[in-house]
């Protein structure tokens, strides 16, 4: 089945979902994820490397109540021609970032990427409310996501994305709906909108 195309990140996250060790607290204040700087309040936990070992270099996975319930995914510095995820399967057909992408194309890239993230055939993902957003001194976009899965809670989310020096920086908040999305949305959105490229 096409679950073979599940992304390494998703698989690793699933299998490690019950792990109780290896998480570390996000220090309140400025944090750096592969060159993307964000400002966080207290209460976030960084998932251990074993969970993100199959993801792109620099990817971080944060959560407050556990990754099945809420997650903040930080993917920095995706270069032209590269996908946002990694895949073990050669036939995954991952969408790739192009440096000349316009806002609607970044939104579509994320929609297709999330279908692969949750497992092709296992998820119907839609996006809405594409809007401009300032990140640091530059411009980017935000939009909302809705992911319906075969046998999981419906997930809602917010995505922030911006391009600097031809590289894409994304930060997504995804949480189970109802309850968990609303529970953490404000603090997650604060982290997303704080994102910028870290000073060299």
């Amino acid at each position: 089945m096409f679950n073979r195309t599940l992304m390494m990140l998703a698989l690793a996250a699933t299998f490690a979902g019950c792990a109780t060790t290896g998480y570390s607290l996000v220090q309140p204040g400025i944090n750096n994820a592969g060159g993307m700087q964000v400002t966080a309040g207290s209460g976030w936990n960084i998932a251990p490397a074993v969970i993100t070992s199959g993801a792109r270099k620099g990817t971080q996975l944060w959560t407050r109540d556990g990754i099945y319930l809420d997650r903040l995914v930080l993917i920095p510095a995706v270069a032209d021609g590269e996908p946002l995820l990694t895949a073990a399967a050669k036939d995954a057909a991952l969408p790739v970032f192009r440096k000349d992408m316009l806002p609607n194309e970044v939104e579509e890239l994320m929609e297709s990427t999330l279908v692969k993230y949750f497992g092709e055939g296992n998820a119907a993902v839609s996006t809405a409310n594409l809007r401009p957003q300032v990140f640091g001194s530059g411009r980017g976009v935000m939009f909302d996501i809705d992911a319906r899965l075969t046998d999981s809670p419906t997930y809602k989310g917010r995505v922030g994305a911006f391009i600097v020096d031809d590289k894409l920086y994304t930060i997504w908040y995804i949480a189970a709906d109802p309850y968990y999305f609303d529970k953490h949305n404000a603090v997650a959105e604060a982290v997303i909108t704080s994102a910028r490229v870290a000073a060299p």
């Binding site: 699933t14 119907a124 993902v125 409310n129």
Partner: protein
């Protein structure tokens, strides 16, 4: 009396396999309508397991609940099933891959990928007939027993556990459990008996091999060949072999196909009414060779041209190979000229003008988009460009 029949049927079923190339005139239903397991403990257990999975599928967020679409599919199933109609519960699952499946309990799943790949209702009926043949020939029960022989109890229940934890989708788990152990002989039986059921229901039996012809064509058109082509779409040479023997059998038994194929308005109506979500799901797979092949079929059978052209635009624009942006712009313009475009045709054409540096043309198209879609959720983004 019924219990005797069931025992006899089970015995016959087990005694007739394996065998090469079943002769369909020998084949018939092995269970009566309304069949329920009454003899074998493992069969009762299997039913219990599938009923648990079915309850979960019933709650799935990917279950298509549109009444018209469900009625359309349900009527096909009942027409092919005839006296067995009430034995099946049909679940239409939002999944752009090609598949249908049937469990031993009569839980039939049809994925939306089958609907978008069909050139006619007869082709959907052909796949349904194949699955019903598996059911009434008790292949699912045989497959379950074969699976149990191969797997330890722990491994078997791991499937259930995987379903619960979401590592594998429940729908996919149920589908996998229904097909995993079908033998080549059982597939051949289901192919040939299915073609006969198709003809008995007054559907075109030639649709039984056309399904395979189209799957093979899609595989050839794919830019990324699947390592695992899915449950029904088996790899070459099996698909070509199955297509060939079905074609030979159907031609010899029912004569050549009709020279002129009439328009299948029922299928076209269903596609037109649900086209946006069906094709958006397909576009999201990022498999543009396959999408192009599906669109070519839709253009041929007469799906609303404005919609088909719009998705040509989407496919070319997102594929983004050399020359694709021009092709995309042409497709969006064509969609608009044909008179019934989705509002997004204006918007995405506007974005392409923007990409070419033509802000005035982009603004014109963005204004048309907002006029066609006053409540657009991305109004803030569009107005950002209009104010530039």
């Amino acid at each position: 009396m019924t219990r005797l029949f069931v025992l006899l049927a089970l015995t016959l079923s087990l005694a007739t396999q394996p065998r090469a190339r079943a002769e369909d005139q020998e084949l018939g239903h092995l269970i009566p309508p309304g069949y329920r397991p009454a003899e074998a403990k493992d069969e009762v257990g299997l039913w219990s397991e599938f009923e648990r999975i079915e309850a979960a599928i019933n709650k799935s967020a990917l279950l298509v609940r549109d009444p018209a679409l469900n009625d359309y599919v349900g009527e096909i199933v009942c027409r092919v099933a005839a006296a067995y109609c009430n034995d099946f519960r049909v679940y239409l699952i939002r999944n752009p891959s090609f598949n249908a499946s049937m469990t031993a309990t009569g839980m039939m799943q049809i994925w939306t990928g089958l609907i978008i790949r069909a050139s006619s209702t007869d082709e959907i009926a052909a796949v349904v007939a194949h699955e019903i043949a598996h059911y009434t020939r008790l292949h699912s029960l045989e497959g379950f027993r074969a699976l149990k022989r191969k797997m330890s109890t722990g491994a078997f229940f791991d499937i259930g556990l995987a379903a619960l934890t979401g590592v594998y989708g429940l729908g996919q788990t149920a589908a996998a459990m229904s097909y995993l152990s079908f033998s080549r002989e059982q597939e051949t039986e289901a192919d040939l008996f299915g073609a006969r059921l198709l003809a008995l229901a007054s559907y075109d039996p030639h649709a039984s091999y056309r399904v395979w012809e189209q799957l093979i064509a899609e595989e050839k058109a794919a830019e990324v060949q699947r390592e695992d082509p899915g449950i029904f779409a088996k790899t070459h040479p099996e698909a070509e072999d199955r297509m060939r023997y079905l074609k030979t059998r159907v031609h010899s038994r029912y004569g050549p196909p009709d020279a002129v194929v009439s328009k299948d308005q029922e299928l076209i109506d269903v596609l037109n009414q649900n086209y946006m979500f069906l094709m958006e799901d397909q576009i999201d797979t990022n498999r543009f060779g396959r999408t192009k092949q599906i669109l070519e079929r839709h253009a041929t059978i007469g799906v609303e041209p404005s919609l088909v052209r719009f998705f040509y635009g989407e496919m070319f624009r997102q594929r983004n190979q050399a020359g694709d942006l021009d092709l995309a712009m042409s497709a969006y313009r064509h969609s608009i000229e044909l008179g019934n475009p989705p509002p997004e045709a204006y918007k995405n054409l506007g974005y392409l003008h923007l990409k070419q540096g033509d802000l005035d043309q982009a603004k014109d198209r963005f204004r048309q988009y907002l006029a066609a879609e006053p409540n657009a959720s991305d109004r803030a983004m569009i107005e950002f460009y209009l104010e530039e």
